[in-house]
């Protein structure tokens, strides 16, 4: 019984393997590759753009900090009441600003350290 079934299946297999495996057009692979390359180019441009936007956020943050630093630099110390009222609680406020900036702008890790340094420098100024 099993033998008969196997013979039957072999016969069908042999017959079906004579059927045509169809071929697409000659330039099929080229057509696909053109589409694929266009897609991957688009994707890499998008990634670059996102990176650039992140860099711009970083620059804006640095610029802002520099502005704050320079503003205080040009204000004479004797007029600065803040200096007399120095409170260590300021540190936690600065750290909060630091983490909010990081989370909102998804700043890359390698920039985080320099941003922290800048913040600490401005803290040192106070």
């Amino acid at each position: 019984m099993i033998n008969n079934k196997n013979n039957t299946d072999d016969f069908l297999k042999d017959l079906i393997q004579k059927s045509d495996i169809e071929n697409p057009s000659v330039d099929f692979t080229n057509k696909v590759m053109k589409e694929v390359e266009a897609y991957s180019e688009k994707k890499s441009v998008l990634i670059l753009l996102i990176k650039k936007i992140n860099n711009w956020y970083y620059l804006a943050a640095v610029g802002l900090l520099a502005l704050i630093y320079l503003t205080y630099y040009f204000i004479p110390f004797e007029n600065l009441s803040l200096f007399d009222q120095y409170d260590p609680a300021f540190i936690s406020v600065f750290l909060k600003i630091y983490f909010i900036t990081l989370n909102s702008f998804s700043i890359h890790f390698k920039y985080r350290q320099s941003l922290l340094l800048l913040l600490l420098q401005s803290l040192h100024f106070f």
Binding site: K13, I16, S19, F28
Partner: protein, 192 residues
């Protein structure tokens, strides 16, 4: 050139070598096109489906988990794309026009087929496959041409293993009937 597995090229593509994808396309294009053509029965549509399939596969290559064979995943996508296109156009499958011929044994069929020339056998089986429904022709393509297991076919066609076996059994019976009828009506008449 040394034969490399699909996963070798997939790793290269994921590392950023887009051109490695052409090796994958070249390797599978004929079968992908054949599966699509057997379902939609129109060369232009089949080529479009095959092209869409390869682009779709490239776009979601990162999500391919190497739990199953790459080709299983690829054929599943082409099958689903072609079937959904066919459903949209509501293609009608050809019903059997011939009457069943009684008193015809399996050995008779084999004997008759073996009497035919190679090209005649090839024409005969192409005609028979044309008569099958898209699902049936995909099933026999995968089972007899690609020699996939019922488990792999069940993954590609989203059927249970038991269902694949039942369908294969029915298709075998139908194939014999179709072969027998074509021989009887087309070839025997010629030789009479």
């Amino acid at each position: 050139m040394k034969y490399q597995s699909d996963s070798f090229y997939i790793d290269k593509i994921l590392e950023g070598d887009v051109s490695a994808y052409s090796m994958i396309v070249d390797r599978h294009k004929d079968m992908v096109f054949t599966v699509a053509l057997r379902i939609v029965r129109n060369r232009e549509d089949a080529e479009e489906i095959a092209q869409d399939t390869f682009v779709k596969v490239y776009q979601s290559l990162k999500s391919f988990k190497k739990e199953s064979k790459f080709s299983t995943w690829l054929y599943r996508i082409v099958y689903n794309t072609a079937i959904s296109k066919t459903r949209k156009r509501q293609l009608e499958t050809t019903d059997m026009e011939y009457e069943i011929i009684e008193n015809y044994t399996l050995d008779n069929i084999k004997e008759d087929v073996n009497r035919l020339e190679y090209d005649e056998q090839k024409n005969l089986i192409n005609k028979v496959i044309e008569k099958l429904s898209p699902e049936e022709s995909t099933l026999i393509n995968l089972f007899y041409l690609k020699e996939y297991s019922t488990e792999e076919i069940s993954k590609i066609m989203n059927l249970s293993k038991a269902n694949v076996k039942v369908k294969l059994h029915r298709i075998r019976k139908r194939l014999y009937k179709e072969v027998q009828q074509i021989i009887e009506y087309d070839y025997k008449k010629l030789y009479k």
